[in-house]
Amino acid sequence: MAVKHRAREGASRDLLYQMLRIRRFEERCVELYSGEKIRGFMHLYIGEEAVAAGVCHALTPDDAVVSTYREHGHALVRDVPATAIMAEMYGKAAGCSRGRGGSMHIFDAPHRFYGGNAIVGGGLPLAVGLALADRFQGRNRVTACFFGDGAVAEGEFHECLNLAALWRLPVLFACENNLYAMGTALARSHAETDLALRAASYDVVAWPVDGMDVSAVADSASRAAESIRAGAGPHFLELRTYRFRAHSMYDPDRYRDKAEIEQWKKRDPINALITRMKAAQEIDDDGLSVLEKEISAEIDKAIAFAEQAPVEPVEDLARFVYSDTPRAGGTRPMGAVEAAP
């Protein structure tokens, strides 16, 4: 679907479509969470859609993505089926992780989507390793690694930037700086708040980007990816963004000023793009409602799928702790997992 749009409508429309998908999908998730269909921790991406849409715009289907626990957006844009994501959040066997991961652990081998990592900073070494494997095997692919400003305080961040730079590995480090590590403001936890500057100290090409402007994100990511593919080693983008909703469904959001949130909402990346597209006559209200309808239908289908999907039999509880059978490759083909349609 996403690919279809890309081909048919051009970049702006596709970026808008992806951002709207994320926004509407998560809005429904809130409803489903309130109705106890979804449980556990659920972290919403609303407000940050331009980052996922823009960065992934620069990736090819062969590229890999390593993400965080706030990954619904990345997964959707990378074409992990909404049905499989929703079923996963429902804890169903048809979920992309067979109900073993939930909202924080979306995995999808066919789309090279390596999770869903819920330890802050824990995904960075995986990205370095995936890039290392590409280097060994002579494949010209990019591994995009999303993480937040909180991860920059972790030792793994520094170890990994150094290692990736040292070995000139093809990693795109996409730092989603939404100014808060859960409830701790950036300035309260970092002496140097210019994160791009810190990344640059590891001899990594790094620059900050307005993360609320999807075109700027897409342009920067494309430049970075191009450079990485050309063998220039890892790149770091500090994507300055903001989440409009609380950290998770449990978060009372006491640490932020309501006025601050309202201020950022004025820069809503979706509204900004629509305004621009309307001005450029790239879309009108009819076109928008066509998009909305299409998205709504996709989400309805995902929910219907998740609702009727069977749960994993309890007898299979211990499956996948160890491999059922020895395999040749590091990944199991999706066909073996009875994937969602």
Binding site: S97, R100, G116, A133, F136, Q137, R319, F320, T325, P326
Partner: protein
């Protein structure tokens, strides 16, 4: 390796060399594995043979290079990651436990991690607390990992290849006191699933692994002079434990002493005792004995260190106590 014999260190090196020759996906990565030749000289000469790409020195970034090993395994490689010692593996616990051990399950079976992590473990070399931990029992707590403890030349030589063939993460714990062990390895296949009976006997089963196997065998010889015939089990695989071999032996001897260089509380020895009680209670003719490290950080001074960990004499005494209780 000479014609007549080899050392544990050489056997391990030969295993790595063979694996790298057999499969180009295999590479070795870790601190000082290349130019230095390995902290314990295991990888000496491999850099020259395979080059710096496949014998890859890393910065002192345990979490990053262990995690990179996991990522490379996900990306289709067969990495051998060397962590200099188990003590430093604590800096990579997040990657080992939160990623290597969980990814397959958490991804619903999509992402296996065919990774081998080797590390030195154990006390006995006057290295003091921060270089003398025996934490393999900790790792054996974690579902998703396979934990090996080669104690013989055969296992040092033979366990690596099946570990690399294993689709799941395997941790190999090499006791630091074993590297100089020398002799002629017996030919034959080596598996990574079963415990081995290193000595047969009918009066008591002595269960040991890694660095305590040799001491336990010496103790068994001394016990034989007292007319106590001890059976010695070398666990080899600390997870998943080979319950069958253990219970069969207990069924023959009815008495058990577990020898473990790890601490007693919440330990592998506790797990083994517990399983025996669960599965072979009515075979027991005496309370299960445990000989573990003293519950202290391992001290530097020789006499204190010796007193802190199982020794031949203490194994003999503990076995005697079980036999007469």
């Amino acid at each position: 390796m000479s014609e007549t014999g080899t050392t544990y260190r050489e056997a391990m090196r030969e295993a790595i060399r063979e694996a790298m020759r057999r499969d180009e996906r295999v590479f070795l990565m870790g601190e000082d594995v290349g130019a230095y030749g390995g902290c314990f000289a295991v990888s000496l000469g491999l850099l020259e043979e395979f080059g710096p790409e496949r014998v890859r020195d890393t910065p002192l970034s345990e979490s990053a290079f262990v995690g990179a090993g996991i990522g490379a395994a996900l990306g289709g490689m067969r990495p051998i990651v060397e962590i200099m010692t188990v003590n430093f593996s604590l800096l990579a616990l997040d990657q080992i436990i939160n990623n290597a051990a969980t990814l397959l399950h958490m991804s619903g079976g999509q992402f296996g991690v065919p990774l081998v992590i080797r590390m030195t473990t154990g006390a006995g070399r006057q290295l003091a607390a921060q270089h003398s931990h025996s934490l393999e029992g900790w790792y054996a707590h974690i579902p998703g990992l396979r934990i090996l403890a080669p104690a013989t030349l055969e296992d040092a030589r033979g366990m690596l290849w099946p570990s690399l063939e294993d689709p799941d993460p395997v941790l190999i714990f090499e006791h630091g006191a074993l590297y100089a062990l020398s002799g002629v390895p017996r030919p034959g296949p080596v598996d990574i699933t079963r415990a081995a009976i290193r000595r047969s006997g009918e009066d008591i089963t002595l269960i040991a692994y890694g660095g305590t196997v040799g001491k336990t065998l010496s103790a068994a010889d001394a016990l034989a002079a007292e007319n106590i015939e001890a059976e010695v089990i070398d666990l080899r695989v600390l997870r998943p434990l080979d319950d069958v071999t253990i219970m069969r032996s207990v069924g023959r001897t009815h008495r058990v002493l577990v020898v473990d260089e790890g601490w007693r509380s919440g330990s592998l020895s506790a797990e083994i005792s517990s399983r025996i009680v669960e599965q072979a209670f009515y075979e027991l003719d005496a309370p299960i004995g445990r000989l573990c490290a003293a519950e202290v950080p391992i001290p530097y001074a020789r006499h204190l260190e010796e007193a802190a960990i199982p020794q031949v004499a203490t194994i003999i005494a503990a076995a005697r106590e079980v036999v007469t209780s």
